[in-house]
């Protein structure tokens, strides 16, 4: 077996050195009646070529985003990632290292985490950021728990524009943790009265912008009201690229900013692994979940980096930890950091502008299709399309025509007749005039 360096002779010699009569002697602690003697009922070892064939066949059954006009978003976005990013993250020293528990020989990882934290803080307009969460949705759950710790309250209000998956994650966590989670109903046009939900019991308000329906939300009044009641404003984004063109949540008064970082540096990969961004105010750092990397000096006074404030963490604090998180999204952070360092302010802004312009052109094109309406007024790169008919069926028929046209809202919010003719449509820098023309033409045919 190509991955196992021991030869039969090695094994015999080593067993002798160990003083064991057989390999099974080393497994003697497994009670005999539960010791497995037969091989598992699974195929035997395969060569690389055979494995490639099997997995290649499975992969070949899927329609990849690059192979068709592609407009699917709703929390995960197809952007172009420079080839150098994927090359660099595969460097052995990054790919096959562990959490930097021995900082003297992990400065590579620690320094990029420090760069990541700084980039996330700048991008969100916040003071500090952690070294990542699993993804945006679990990060949102952690943000709510953190708000509970900070405010010592246990009642969170979730906007109806929050991605339904995120809402579900927060609700599940809240239910099991015994917290109260008030989720507002689906708010397609961003018109909900969330201010009216805030009272002196409220730990936090969770608002997404751009929200799941694409609306850009005004966060300032919510921040003001929340702060007036001693509550925190948690803001969420699922499209990190939007921060290049849209005012930062930090500038609008957010206390905790959490979001999905996939758009920068990370491929779609059917939903994971992604990278959760998590930023807040400096005064809250001891209540933050997750790993933090900090600057320090070594015995010779040289600048260096270490994981720090680990007294918040499970491996030190155990049942008093701020979170149970351990492994996070290290390599996805690295992809994010490299891609963002390549973009820089200039490239980020231009990419964001292209995404927006393409989305505007798309909205213009689709609005020309009879019976179709764009519901979203102010948006970044995604909007809600109302179609005359069942959105899920329309999307399916578009797929048959080779266009992946978006996400029917019913897939996220099933069983709500009032949402059944809505589609979330996203556009990024990858889309061309041809893509848009193909979509409009196919939609017209499907609806005809």
């Amino acid at each position: 077996m190509r991955y196992l360096p021991l030869t039969p002779d090695d094994r015999t010699d080593m067993l002798r050195r160990v003083g064991a009569s057989s390999i099974d002697a080393l497994f003697a602690d497994i009670p005999a009646k539960v010791r497995q003697t037969e091989l598992p009922d699974l195929p035997r070892a395969k060569g690389e070529m055979e494995v490639e064939r099997i997995l290649g066949r499975m992969a070949g059954r899927n329609v990849s985003a690059s192979s068709v006009p592609f407009f699917v978003g709703a929390g995960a976005y197809k952007h172009h990632v420079p080839a150098s990013v994927d090359h660099l993250i595969q460097r052995s020293e990054f790919l096959t290292s562990y959490t930097p528990y021995q900082p003297e020989i992990a400065q590579g990882t620690l320094q990029y985490l420090y760069e990541f934290q700084t980039q996330v803080a700048l991008l969100t307009g916040m003071e500090v950021a952690n070294a990542s969460m699993y993804d945006g949705s679990t990060g949102t759950g952690e943000a709510v728990l953190m708000a509970h710790r900070v405010t010592k309250r246990r009642k969170a209000v979730l906007s109806g524009g929050l991605h339904p998956h995120y809402r579900d994650v927060v609700e599940t966590l809240g239910r099991f943790a015994g917290d109260s989670i008030k989720a507002m109903p689906a708010d397609v046009r961003g018109e909900e009265d969330i201010l009216g939900q805030i009272d002196d019991e409220t730990s936090c308000v969770v608002v997404q912008s751009p929200d799941v329906y694409g609306n850009l939300r005004d966060l300032r009044p919510i921040a003001e009201k929340a702060h007036a009641h001693g509550a925190l404003l948690v803001t969420v984004f699922t499209e990190a690229m939007s921060l290049g063109l849209v005012e930062s949540p930090g500038a609008q008064g957010a206390d905790i900013v959490v979001g999905e970082g996939q758009s920068i540096g990370n491929p779609l990969t059917f939903g994971g692994p992604y990278v959760g961004l998590f930023a807040t105010r400096e005064k809250f750092i001891r209540q933050m979940p997750g790993r933090l990397c900090g600057e320090t000096v070594d015995a010779e006074g040289k600048r260096g980096y270490v994981l720090t404030l680990s007294t918040r963490e499970q491996h030190i604090r155990r049942d008093k930890a701020t979170s149970n998180i351990c492994t996070n999204s290290g390599l996805c952070c690295l992809a994010f950091t490299i891609h963002l360092s390549l973009l820089g302010e200039k490239g980020l802004r231009r990419t964001a502008e292209t995404c927006h312009a393409n989305a505007v052109l798309l909205a213009d094109a689709l609005e020309q299709v009879p019976g179709v309406e764009v519901l979203t007024e102010a948006f970044f790169n995604e909007f809600t399309l109302k179609v005359p008919g069942n959105a899920a069926e329309v999307i399916e028929k578009l797929a048959e025509k080779g266009v992946l046209g978006g996400v029917p809202v019913s897939r996220l919010e099933p069983g709500r007749p009032e949402l059944e003719n809505l589609i979330l449509v996203a556009s990024t820098e990858i889309n061309t005039d041809d893509d848009r023309a193909a979509y409009a033409a196919a939609l017209k045919e499907v609806l005809a």
């Binding site: 992969a59 290292s97 930097p100 939903g271």
Partner: protein, 493 residues
Amino acid sequence: IEEALLFEIGRPEVTGVDLPEPPKVAKRLGRHERKAPINLPGLAEPEAVRHYVRLSRHNYSIDNGIFPLGSCTMKHNPRLNEKMARLPGFGDVHPLQPQSTVPGAIELISELSRWLIELTGMQAVAMSPKAGAHGELCGMMAIKAALEARGEEHRKVVLVPDSAHGTNPATAALIGFEVKPVPARADGTVDPEEVRKRVGPDVAAIMLTNPNTCGLFERDVVEIAKAIHDAGAYFYADGANFNAIVGKAKVGDLGVDAMHINLHKTFSTPHGGGGPGAGPVVLSERLAAYAPRPLVVSDGGNVALLEHAEGGAAESLGRMTAFHGQMGMYVRALSYMLSHGADGLRQASEDAVLNANYIRACLQDLYSAPAGDRPCMHEILFDDSFLEGTGITTLDIAKAMIDEGFHPMTVYFPLVVHGAMLIEPTESESRASLDFFIAAMRDLAMAAKAGDTARFKEAPRYAPRRRLDETRAARQPKLRWQAPEPMAAEAAE
């Protein structure tokens, strides 16, 4: 060689990404357009590549040498798996594109599920948890859901041995359980008698790592499970060490109700300096109904990805994450499994255990093993009693190992022995590599006993950094780069 921070070499006017001028449109951003600069530096591609290549060289990795972090299972990461995860049909598909356009992705999850179920002998598997700790949360939520369904919300106590990973108590506490310790026997294993003493109508579950973090198989696990079940509680297994027993025992046969599997440990998805991981949770018949959504179910030849708790599945504990979990890691894990096959997986467990015992046998005269000369599983635990009187600590040994060209073992964990050193070689090490490591470890022990204190106290001397001041980092936390004052002034102009 030093490497400056990105913020010290990049400039906001530089970019390493070229895009054509954006189409001219009337913006539809409302009043939300950003006006303030972000001050994000950019790098031209040559600068970026060099910066991160140079940074990488400050890291140690498996590909540089043995990485014997006990309980972390740093084994070889086959590059085939990286290649497979990047096939466009896996890497470039969206979680919400129509299911009809991703049958192969769903098939892959189903196939991986089949392997995990067969290898563990369990009833079902929840694939979506994002990492081991998230899997623990999933399993404990399932237990809580089951208790609620039985009307036994009053069961609030979770028994956790002192040798457990910190994630166990943290997870239990997160969802409102009260953690109570179970003492260990002298060798670090759990005495079923102690469990029996503690179980009662208030106990919800036990969380037990097996093989445990002392590197020993809990030989009374079946009895412990029985005691737990007899008392109406559940048996959560921490699967961090599952890699020692794949093909040697099915956890279902041990009485486990839920166990997470760290795909990066047992099935070699790369740890990437801190993640991403993936933590599928296998569930017993008693808990299967509570599995979170999404869930891939297979009924004969038909495979379905259920995204909601449709129909009669109201028991589902809900959703734990957006989308479907860590697909990229699933592909790598299945590629690893297919490559090994049933025979190779068992052989890997056997080799991992043999390698650990070989180290044990070759070091036990110089190092002190709390379990004496009892065989270990995939990792061998030493304490610091062999250092008594030398003034040298476990940490000193670790740092001195760096100067010998090795990554240190896990130190000061588990907490149940003093100055713990937990060594896990994994099956990826050749005998020559083990012998090289053993020779260095023997040399260090002898040097410590001979009083060569400077070699330890000044270590590491040959690393990119000398010992770092962790206290200072925690006392005056500096968590991000800030522009030096003059630059800040300039930026503000």
